[in-house]
């Protein structure tokens, strides 16, 4: 188990390193980094001063060393807009996004398991075909448009849901979560259905039935556990993809999370904050990948014992 985890941590760390270096390369090697950090209206004197203060006139390897030092200390410079530390701004925005993502994935997984299993239980039945069509549609709807439709119908026409903001009761969560939910939900229903169809036709399911196991016991006790592996993989990918959705949802609903921070800092050309947000996202994904691997190992003894090559 420990060997397995160690190997997985090392391989999950590679993307993290690539992102850290990638941001550096993008920032320093694609032109004058001062252009990225300072507003276009900055005077040459300001630029020179900024360049010297940040060591942009140093040899590239020295810059890399300094940069890595800053990353390790979570020192990403200061926001151009607010003068606040970029790292702090990102960490403040982080919980809002995390909450949104966690609730969404929870609903998506539980709902998809129920509906996907139901569809797989009677393949090609009316319920199966309906859920297939709906989940395909859900996975193909642009989330920003879905959000706007939600605002139009429930916010503007019916006036029962707030159209933005985080203050208020549980109703402020409805539209953001619904928006964030549709794509992962649609994809997961299809994945759960597929792997449940396979699991339910496996011989051990016949055996369980031959023992007189009740249908819920067969479906959830025997088949589901075996169908979890592909579902877990896709759920992991979807959670990573949730960052995409979070950017859109937070922008539309004014949710003060990382996604909104990222878009704001792009539109206002605030590179320090963007850099911090990107790096923190990369770290989160790294941690997430390891958590998924732990889940794998807990769920399947074969993974636990096999030492990956």
């Amino acid at each position: 188990m420990t060997t397995f985890l160690r190997k997985r941590i090392v391989s999950s760390a590679i993307p993290l390193v690539v992102v850290v270096l990638g941001v550096f390369v993008l920032a320093r090697l694609t032109g004058n980094p001062v252009d990225l950090y300072l507003p276009l209206s900055a005077t040459p004197e300001q630029r020179a001063a900024f360049s010297a203060a940040n060591g942009f006139d140093q040899p590239i390897l020295v810059q890399l060393w300094d940069y890595l030092g800053q990353v390790v200390q979570l020192d990403f410079g200061e926001s151009l807009r607010t003068g606040q530390s970029a790292g702090e701004m990102v960490l403040e925005a982080f919980p809002a996004t995390l909450q949104l993502a966690a609730v969404t994935m929870l609903i998506a997984i539980v709902g998809a398991v129920l509906i996907g299993s139901l569809a797989a239980y009677r393949p090609n039945s009316l319920a199966d075909r309906t859920s297939s069509f709906l989940s395909m549609t859900a996975a193909s709807i642009p989330d920003f448009w879905f959000a706007i439709m939600g605002v139009l119908v429930f916010g503007v026409s019916l006036g029962i849901l707030p159209t933005s903001g985080v203050v208020g009761g549980p109703e402020v969560w409805v539209l953001p979560i619904a928006t964030l939910l549709i794509r992962p939900f649609g994809v997961l229903v299809q994945v759960v259905r597929g792997s449940m169809v396979a699991a339910l036709s496996a011989p051990y399911v016949k055996v369980a039935r031959s023992k007189g196991a009740s249908e819920p016991r067969v479906v959830f006790g025997h088949a589901l556990r075996n169908a979890t592996m592909p579902v877990l993989t896709v759920a992991g990918d979807l959670t990573i993809g949730l960052v995409n959705g979070a950017v859109v949802v937070e922008t539309i609903f004014g949710w003060p999370g990382i996604g909104k921070l990222m878009i704001d800092s792009i539109l206002q050309r605030d590179f320090a904050v963007l850099q911090a947000a990107v790096l923190l996202t990369a770290v989160t994904i790294f941690v997430l990948n390891i958590l998924i691997d732990v889940c794998y190992a807990l769920l399947d003894a074969r993974v636990r014992q096999a030492v990956p090559a």
Binding site: V23, L26, S140, F144, I263
Partner: protein, 324 residues
């Protein structure tokens, strides 16, 4: 012993297949299969219409997409103002219909090249890696893992910050972000095929690796890759729309469906059609592509194709009293 191995369900499969040969030996023409599946047929027709609109629509409508007419500002959809007024006008009095047609061109001119690029590069590298195996395979897969473990929108956000958001850059980013999908699929197919006899035979004759890949691996891997591409077309379209909606994709005066939604957003309460209709266009196109992809997957899988030949009422026949 005359008898052979007899698995509990193997026997049934045997029988199932015995009924099939008429189908398996002479696969029905694909358009006949398509005709049998109403949903897939409709999806194919819709996609064809979108493509046709994008190609010849602008020629028919001329400059209607950019012609401003402030007196016709925010006109709702109606039959009173000719074909250009059919779907209403925006704040500058430009025809929403004409802009939708124009945007179809932009959207497709981003999505199609991006899909083709990633399909071509991903498949080539994937088959090459799978065919050779060893270190080349490892490196290719690692690179794919790295790209995949990073949200595509984030990649786009950073790159489009540093470089200018232009059609070429968006195509480039989307292509790079989607290469791993094809790379993985192609590698898996090639790795499995390279151990087969006919590939070995080709190798013994001294055929070069690229020739072997082209002649023996590509034809078998292609259906799967095309299925993935059809499905990926949706993803690429959605990502482009999101980017444009967020203001870091297609920039005005160009117009894409995502950008139209963004522009119509502020008029949501007064002129819903500006934001709603481009979204409808996106949904119709992506849903059609998804349905078609599901059908292609079924039709290109010899083990599953027979399902499509079933009469509808026989599909999924179940007998609850007997089988649990």
């Amino acid at each position: 012993m005359t008898a052979t191995l007899d698995k509990p369900d193997g026997s049934k499969d045997g029988k199932k297949n015995k009924g099939v040969p008429a189908v398996a030996s002479r696969p029905p023409r694909w358009w006949l299969l398509l005709g049998r599946d109403t949903m897939a047929a409709v999806a194919a027709v819709v996609l064809g219409l979108v493509l046709l609109t994008a190609l010849i629509g602008p020629l028919l409508l001329g400059d209607a997409a950019v012609r401003q007419d402030l007196s016709a500002s925010l006109r709702p959809p109606s039959f009173d103002h000719g074909i250009t007024g059919l779907l209403g006008t925006d704040i500058l009095g430009r025809s929403v219909l004409a802009r939708l047609v124009e945007a179809a061109g932009t959207t497709l001119s981003v999505a199609i090249p991006a899909v083709l690029c990633s399909l071509f590069i991903g498949s080539a590298v994937g088959m090459w890696a799978g065919f050779h195996g060893g270190r080349r395979e490892n490196i290719a897969m690692r690179v794919a893992d790295v790209i995949l473990s990073f949200p595509s929108l984030l990649l786009a956000v950073v790159v489009l910050y540093v470089f200018e958001p232009s059609v070429a850059n968006i195509v480039l980013i989307l292509a790079v972000a989607r290469i791993p999908i094809y790379l993985r699929t192609a590698r898996a197919e090639a790795a499995e095929l390279k151990s087969r006899l006919f590939v070995d035979a080709a190798r013994t004759f001294g055929t070069t690796s690229w020739a072997t890949i082209y002649r023996h691996i590509l034809p078998i891997a292609l259906p799967t890759l095309l299925t993935v591409a059809t499905l990926d077309f949706c993803f690429v379209m959605l990502t482009e729309s999101s980017l444009s909606f967020l203001g870091i994709g297609i920039q005005p005066p160009d117009v894409s469906w995502g950008l139209m939604v963004a522009q119509g957003r502020q008029f949501l309460q007064t002129a819903w059609w500006i934001a709603v209709l481009p979204g409808v266009a996106i949904v119709i196109t992506t849903v059609s592509a998804t349905i078609l992809a599901a059908w292609v997957r079924l039709a290109t899988d010899p083990a599953q194709r027979w399902r499509l030949t079933l009469p509808k009422n026989k599909r999924g026949k179940r007998t609850p009293e007997v089988s649990a």
